[in-house]
Symmetry: D2
Amino acid sequence: MKTAFIGLGIMGGRMAANLLGAGYDLVVYNRTEDKATALLERGARWASSPAAAAAGVDVLITMLSTPEVVENLALGKEGFLGALKREAVWVDATTVNPSFSRRMAAAAQARGVRFLDAPVAGTKGPAEQATLTFLVGGDAEVITRCQPLFDVMGNRTVHVGGHGMGTSLKMVFNLLLGEAMQAFCEGMALGKALGIPRDTLLDTLLGSAVVAPFVSGKREMIRRDAYEAHFPLQWMHKDLHLATLTAYERGVALPAANAVKETYALAARHGLADKDFAAIYQFLAEGKAE
Amino acid sequence: MKTAFIGLGIMGGRMAANLLGAGYDLVVYNRTEDKATALLERGARWASSPAAAAAGVDVLITMLSTPEVVENLALGKEGFLGALKREAVWVDATTVNPSFSRRMAAAAQARGVRFLDAPVAGTKGPAEQATLTFLVGGDAEVITRCQPLFDVMGNRTVHVGGHGMGTSLKMVFNLLLGEAMQAFCEGMALGKALGIPRDTLLDTLLGSAVVAPFVSGKREMIRRDAYEAHFPLQWMHKDLHLATLTAYERGVALPAANAVKETYALAARHGLADKDFAAIYQFLAEGKAE
Amino acid sequence: MKTAFIGLGIMGGRMAANLLGAGYDLVVYNRTEDKATALLERGARWASSPAAAAAGVDVLITMLSTPEVVENLALGKEGFLGALKREAVWVDATTVNPSFSRRMAAAAQARGVRFLDAPVAGTKGPAEQATLTFLVGGDAEVITRCQPLFDVMGNRTVHVGGHGMGTSLKMVFNLLLGEAMQAFCEGMALGKALGIPRDTLLDTLLGSAVVAPFVSGKREMIRRDAYEAHFPLQWMHKDLHLATLTAYERGVALPAANAVKETYALAARHGLADKDFAAIYQFLAEGKAE
Amino acid sequence: MKTAFIGLGIMGGRMAANLLGAGYDLVVYNRTEDKATALLERGARWASSPAAAAAGVDVLITMLSTPEVVENLALGKEGFLGALKREAVWVDATTVNPSFSRRMAAAAQARGVRFLDAPVAGTKGPAEQATLTFLVGGDAEVITRCQPLFDVMGNRTVHVGGHGMGTSLKMVFNLLLGEAMQAFCEGMALGKALGIPRDTLLDTLLGSAVVAPFVSGKREMIRRDAYEAHFPLQWMHKDLHLATLTAYERGVALPAANAVKETYALAARHGLADKDFAAIYQFLAEGKAE
């Protein structure tokens, strides 16, 4: 199965490395070539454009940043969608909104290409350790074809429903991710202001019933107040934007998610856009001395 | 050790029952006597007033609803604080704000009574199974004296610091509790509106890294849309009020907690005050058909 | 100057009537023909499609509900944009987001058509009395050409800047409109709960320095708790959605606007979507008896 | 009528000056004596303590910062309440919450002193020009006695109802004040990010139907990005805290007011506590370059 991988950032680079490690014939493309260096040394081939990456492959996987970037690489100048062969599969693992996925599914179908929206649950660590969960929308038959790839990059595949249902469930996951991080950081900020030692807070709260388990992975960041990005704050902001946009389209009210989204917006304005999204703690706790 | 227990609601009734079960000599008081019936049948003695409950005991435990109720029973007409003997201990397990705890500590001290603020982490189930965590503020020596009682009602005691530090950490816990419940219900409401089956949502989200573990205990409520109160929504509203009040006193901003607080306020106005706080799902998801 | 008017709702119907009254040769189109009856009786001609409306006119004005509807009527099947003659002007008076206006300007330009985004400040009353303010983005020369039309439908024209700048300022206006309404209704709900008579509140607050003047026009609605739509709540919700969407695109945080947006979302779910947006008072004040 | 005035800040200093100007025999007290200098030069007498100020006066007026400060000066060491003669009137013009006013009314009554809660609508300018509006709670007969004083310091008196009803209406006013300022600043921040010149925004929005008239008084602050305090941001934060606290007590949801409150909390943490509350514009608009 010839495979192309477009988007070699924090997530995509690690996912592509796992495909290479499993012996897949891989062609890669990224806006900046230097992100591909390590993969090329291990045997991946470089494509000079999205269209060049698409030529002749059975499956093309995209792992990008925003709907706008996906649309541009798929349908823009030298876009890959027109270059895929009929019956090839485009797997979009990017976190996008469901109505965008459905639009891409229709664009693919119009060109005889099969489409799966297959965003992942899990960040940097699970991407490296191949323990991602794929949340997939599309036809069962196409999923079956791609299952070997999912099994190399992750350890769980959930077939949620038709086109757009993978990204639908991903909206829900990221909503929960963003709200859980903010909740924890609000709790820490309050605890700090009340004079509870940081280690007492971390020891008591992390692993407790009221904190989402993923937060334990942020322990050292918060302890040391150093937020090298695993999942950049500006992406979390984008994901909350997409989730609340989707909620609007469906007439759902999300009061807390919108409050969280605006806190990320303020933090981004105040210089934390490129930090890990756990830096929301710094934004809430810094400033005034208690 | 002669012990009095005041406040026999969902939590207090179960905690008092565990003390009785461990053989403690127990006198009880509650605003409405019928809540005491089962305990009296098992050997507890009824006190006709807070002051009567306090007479001669070594330790008096309160598990009440609000700071106003605590203050009234402690310092009001026939209040217990004036009736406690010198060097007796008043353990307030009620969820109150730290500045209130410090005021009660001072009032106790002025009468020669020792004080601990000792609110609990855990709701109905842990209260029954004696797996509560006590978050305690006060002197180490007094805590040591009360440790046997804590060990009968719970399985973990955290000495957070001086007076008010137990309730300080409790503020943080309840903040996290309220935000985690709302986050989950917002995620569920969005998922429902996007057409993801409720069971798929529950199976995928509960137990995942992005959802606080306690939420799994609300699974059946949400599945059946039936919210018999384990932890009434209006208490959660009160706790968020106290947490945000405390944040104001300390100059801390809690944007999401305040948004959550107002959602509970709206839900309470719209008839859900006495339901379990998981009913916030019903409030967010009901209404408009998708 | 031959003119077409598409969109004959609460606003468009009144604006078209003023054009007719001033003697303009007018062709009209609306999704449902019955909205056109009064105009046809007064001399307007009916077009059987958007494209038919566009044929031969010098200026085509749209006053529609959402970007999606505008795009569909302009570029969809029998869309008007392909049917306009070169150098004709399309004036879009709809409240849309600036990035959408810019996309429509580009689509028009590609077909040799001139474009103005010209949303209005003012609702039902000003539309009827021709006291609207037009907030216009586009070339000065094109605005000059259309000025006579603006002068018939309104009494002030602000040339804000290039394409999209009219809708940019309109985003700001509607943001202020939505927040001002919510602020007033929160104030009224609090005052009611505190036992201040409704008339005392209305007399003291309306016309005061702390309340936006337009709110005085909602006095009778709120007094009688009857909210026949002048400006439907669901449109306000849409406008706040577009404003916050635009804020996201520009990296601006709007904490209160998002909180207001979600309150409208909840009110819409609870049955108030088609009421005037002043019905947010009912949503906030109803329920619990004080 | 012998009168005492306690609290000589931005508001109180100007109000006391107007009483002096009208020929009243005035004794003054302030925590820091230097604020009294100008008044003493014009004939006011200095009291060395709150109790000393109260001795022998017919009316004592307080214009302070928080409920805690009022309570301390009234009931604390050398407090004035015990030093007032029977049937003297204590007029509290401080912005406090209604339940606090009712508590003070009861404390006064217990000592044979009459009480009015009489907070004002209007800030620095109206205080100087004696155009304040007094919002008064208490007995009509007592108000009649104090009317000459109100008429010297303001130009309108609204008798809202019994004890606490003046501060009830004041809660509503300040809620509206805080929300209106935030709404305007959010609109300005969005407009700026969209490239609309600041002067265009100010010219179009100020004086329009969607902006509260008081905002026009902030025009120069915002134009010059210089926020010398007329009404310090931290007081607005306090007032929103009291309003939302009161809303909690009455079971009212105020989603936008709470979002605004938290924005002020963040701005205060980030160094703007002592600036005018119009500085919320700076907090929202600064940071990221567009």
